[in-house]
C-alpha cells in the first residue's frame, strides 16, 4: 500500500500542471474515504432540500452510502495491511469490490464531456482497484440521440477519451486502456425526452481480465 501511494503521489506531482479542470485527486484510500463520506452527506442533504428529484437523489445517496461503507471496509482492511501475499490479494479483491459497488457507468450532461463529481468518485475507486491488478479496461463512449450520428460518434469519443485521460493522469498506463465510441448507436433507453436521454449519455467501463 505504501509503495502504491508513493507511486500515485509521484504521478500526481508529475501531472499536476496539466490537471487544470480536473478536481484534485486524493491519493490515499483514507483521503478518498473523506471524499466519499462528504459526497454521500452532500447527496443526502440534496435529497432533503429537493422535492422534484427526491427519489433519484435518495437512490443516489443510498448508493453512495453503500459505496462509502464498502470503501470504509476496504480502508479498514488497508490499515490492517500485512506483507503476506494472501493479504495483498484480499486487498485487491476488496478494492475491486468497492469499484464494482460504484458501478461501471459514468453519466454526462448534455453536449458535455466533463466528468461529474459522481463520475470522478466512482472512477477513483476503479483506478484504485486497477492500481493493484493488471487488468485492462475498455471505455465505451455513448451519446443521446440528438444531433447527427457522425458528430455523436465524435462526441462519444470525446467522453471516453476524457475518462481515459483522467485514468492516465492517475497512474493507469495508456496501453491498458482502450477508448471506443458508439455514438448514439447503442442506447440504453430508446424513447425520447430527458429521462431517456440522460441514461444514454454515458461512458461504460468494461474490465478485461489479463
Amino acid at each position: 500500500m505504501v509503495t502504491l501511494s508513493e507511486r500515485q503521489i509521484a504521478r500526481y506531482n508529475l501531472f499536476k500542471p496539466a490537471l487544470r479542470n480536473v478536481p484534485m485527486k486524493h491519493v490515499s484510500v483514507a483521503g478518498k474515504l473523506v471524499t466519499l463520506l462528504l459526497s454521500a452527506a452532500f447527496l443526502v442533504a440534496c435529497s432533503g432540500s429537493s422535492t422534484k428529484e427526491d427519489e433519484e437523489a435518495a437512490a443516489a445517496a443510498a448508493a453512495a452510502a453503500a459505496a462509502a461503507k464498502a470503501a470504509q471496509e476496504a480502508a479498514a482492511a488497508a490499515s490492517a495491511s500485512s506483507a503476506s501475499a494472501s493479504a495483498a490479494d484480499a486487498e485487491t479483491q476488496r478494492l475491486m469490490e468497492t469499484a464494482a459497488a460504484y458501478g461501471n457507468v459514468f453519466y454526462f450532461a448534455y453536449d458535455s464531456s466533463n466528468l461529474t463529481p459522481e463520475a470522478i468518485t466512482a472512477l477513483d475507486a476503479h483506478i484504485a482497484a486497477l492500481n493493484t491488478n493488471n487488468n485492462s479496461v475498455r471505455l465505451e463512449g455513448h451519446t443521446d440521440e440528438r444531433g447527427t450520428r457522425e458528430y455523436n460518434l465524435a462526441l462519444g469519443e470525446r467522453r471516453s477519451n476524457t475518462v481515459r485521460d483522467y485514468m492516465i493522469l492517475n497512474g493507469i498506463t495508456a496501453y491498458r486502456i482502450e477508448s471506443i465510441s458508439y455514438g448514439e448507436e447503442r442506447p440504453i433507453a430508446y424513447g425520447s425526452g430527458e429521462t431517456n436521454w440522460a441514461q444514454n449519455r454515458r461512458v461504460e467501463l468494461v474490465v478485461v481480465s489479463n
Binding site: E145, T148, R149, E150, Y151, R158, S181
Partner: protein, 435 residues
C-alpha cells in the same frame, strides 16, 4: 484470440438475397398545391396468363410520390386504352385529366420483357411522346421506373430519379439482455425489392455509394471497433479499408471514384482524411483540436464540405482542395451539420437545430439563404436524389426511426414507415445509367 472468436460469433454475416416484398411502405403526407392530373392506364399484357407485374401501378406511384402529379383513380377510368386508336379524349377531359399514359407489356425471348408506352396531351388532343424500355422480366419494376423517369423528364424538364436505389440501415431491437440486429439493406427508390446486404449484431452505419453505383462503403463495428468497409454489389465481396485506433467513419467517395474522404481520430481527435483508393495513401486535410467530421464532396470534386466545432458549435465549413483554403459557410443557428450537396453544386441539405428541434434545411450556396424543410423533431441524415428534386431523411415516429422524404421546395412530403424495427441513414444512389 478470445476477442477474435467473440467478434466472429457476434458477426452474423448474411449476404443472402431476401426478396421479401417491401419492408417500407409509402404514405403520402403532403402534395404540391397544383399537381398535374395524369392518368396512367393499366398496361395491356401481351403474354399468357396474368401479368407478372402491374407496371402501370409502379409508374403511377412514382408520379404521385413526386408530389407534382395527381394520378386519376383507376376506378374512375371510363376505358382502358392500350393503343392510340382506343383513346377517346372526351372521356379523359371529363375527368379533368391533363396527360394520359397508355402502354403494353410484352414477354421477350430469354425471360425478357418490353414496355411500350405513349403519352398524350388531353387538352391538345395530341400524342406528345412515345418509347419503350426492355430488360429482364425479373426487373419489370425497374423497367417501369425507367418509363416513369422518361415521362417525368418530358413533363418537368428535369431527369427523373425513380430508376435508382436506396441504402438504409435498420435495427431490430434484441429485447431484454439481447443485442440488437443491425441490417444494411438496398431497395428500389420506392422501398420495394429490399435486399439485405449485411446483417450484424454490432452497429452498422454511414452507408455511402460509389459514384458508379456498383460499390458501397459503410462503417461496421463487427471487429469490436469501428472500421470502414467497401463492398462490391454484384459479387458481395467485401474489403476492410481502415483499422486505425479511434474513429474510422463517414466514408465519402469522390465524384471520380478514386478517392475516399473519411474521418479518423488516430492522431488524437477526429480529422478529415483523403484516402487514395489505389495506393491507400492517406492525406490529412484538417488538423485541429476540434471535431471535424461528415465530409461531403462538391460535385466537381474540387472542394469538400465538412462539419467542425472549431468555433464552439458544429457548423459547416468548405475546404478547397487546390489551395487548402477553408471557410465557414453556415451562420444561421448554433447547430448545422452533415451537409450533402445536390448535383447542381448549389443546393446543400443539412441538419439544422432550432429551439431544440433538429430539422432538415436547404442552404442555397448562391443566395446563402437557409430554408427549413421539415417540421418534425429529430430529423437527420438527409440524402438528396441524383436529380436534386427530393430529399430523403430519417426521423422519429413515436419511439421508432422511420424514413421520410420532402421535395427541395418543401411542397411535397411522404413517409416510408418500416414494417419492422427502426430505419435510419438513407443514402440515395446516383443514377444507375448514364442517359
Amino acid at each position: 484470440m478470445k476477442t477474435l472468436a467473440v467478434a466472429l460469433l457476434n458477426m452474423c454475416l448474411l449476404l443472402a438475397v431476401m426478396n421479401a416484398r417491401a419492408d417500407l411502405t409509402i404514405e403520402i403526407t403532403k402534395g404540391m398545391d397544383n399537381p398535374t392530373a395524369i392518368a396512367v392506364v393499366p398496361f395491356a399484357w401481351q403474354g399468357g396468363g396474368a401479368a407478372p407485374e402491374d407496371v402501370a401501378q409502379v409508374i403511377e406511384s412514382d408520379m404521385l410520390r413526386s408530389g407534382q402529379f395527381a394520378p386519376v383513380a383507376r376506378t374512375d377510368m371510363l376505358g382502358l386504352p392500350s393503343t392510340q386508336a382506343e383513346v377517346f379524349y372526351r372521356d379523359w377531359r371529363a375527368l379533368d385529366t391533363e396527360y394520359l399514359l397508355i402502354g403494353k407489356a410484352s414477354p421477350q425471348p430469354n425471360k425478357g420483357m418490353r414496355l411500350d408506352y405513349e403519352l398524350f396531351d388531353v387538352l391538345r388532343q395530341t400524342r406528345v411522346f412515345s418509347g419503350f424500355e426492355s430488360g429482364p422480366a425479373s426487373d419489370a419494376r425497374m423497367l417501369a421506373h425507367r418509363v416513369a423517369d422518361k415521362i417525368y423528364g418530358h413533363l418537368t424538364g428535369v431527369r427523373g430519379a425513380f430508376a435508382t436505389r436506396l441504402l438504409y440501415v435498420s435495427v431490430v431491437r434484441g429485447g431484454a439482455g439481447n443485442k440488437d440486429y443491425y441490417r444494411l439493406t438496398m431497395s428500389d427508390s420506392d422501398g420495394a425489392r429490399p435486399i439485405v446486404l449485411l446483417e450484424s449484431r454490432e452497429p452498422l452505419l454511414a452507408p455511402a455509394w460509389a459514384p458508379d453505383a456498383l460499390q458501397i462503403a459503410y462503417v461496421s463495428f463487427e471487429t469490436g471497433r469501428p472500421a470502414i468497409f467497401r463492398q462490391d454489389l454484384a459479387t458481395g465481396k467485401r474489403e476492410q479499408l481502415t483499422n486505425f485506433k479511434g474513429l474510422n467513419s463517414a466514408p465519402a467517395w469522390s465524384p471520380d471514384g478514386k478517392t475516399m474522404a473519411m474521418v479518423l481520430s488516430k492522431d488524437g481527435n477526429p480529422d478529415i482524411y483523403l484516402m487514395d483508393l489505389a495506393t491507400r495513401q492517406l492525406t490529412n486535410i484538417t488538423r485541429n483540436y476540434a471535431i471535424e467530421t461528415e465530409p461531403a464532396w462538391m460535385p466537381d470534386g474540387k472542394a469538400l464540405l465538412f462539419t467542425s466545432d472549431r468555433g464552439g458549435k458544429p457548423q459547416i465549413y468548405r475546404y478547397e482542395l487546390a489551395t487548402g483554403a477553408t471557410k465557414r459557410i453556415t451562420f444561421e443557428g448554433t447547430y448545422n451539420a452533415r451537409a450533402r450537396v445536390a448535383q447542381d453544386g448549389r443546393n446543400v441539405v443539412l441538419v439544422h437545430q432550432k429551439e431544440g428541434s433538429f430539422n432538415i434545411a436547404l442552404l442555397d450556396l448562391v443566395t446563402n439563404r437557409l430554408q427549413i424543410l421539415t417540421a418534425t423533431q429529430l430529423d437527420e441524415s438527409p440524402s438528396i436524389a441524383p436529380n436534386g428534386s427530393m430529399v430523403l431523411y430519417a426521423t422519429k415516429s413515436g419511439d421508432r426511426g422511420i424514413l421520410a422524404a420532402v421535395s427541395v421546395d418543401g411542397g411535397a412530403k411522404f413517409r416510408l414507415p418500416s414494417r419492422e424495427g427502426d430505419v435510419r441513414e438513407p443514402a440515395w444512389s446516383p443514377y444507375l445509367s448514364a442517359k
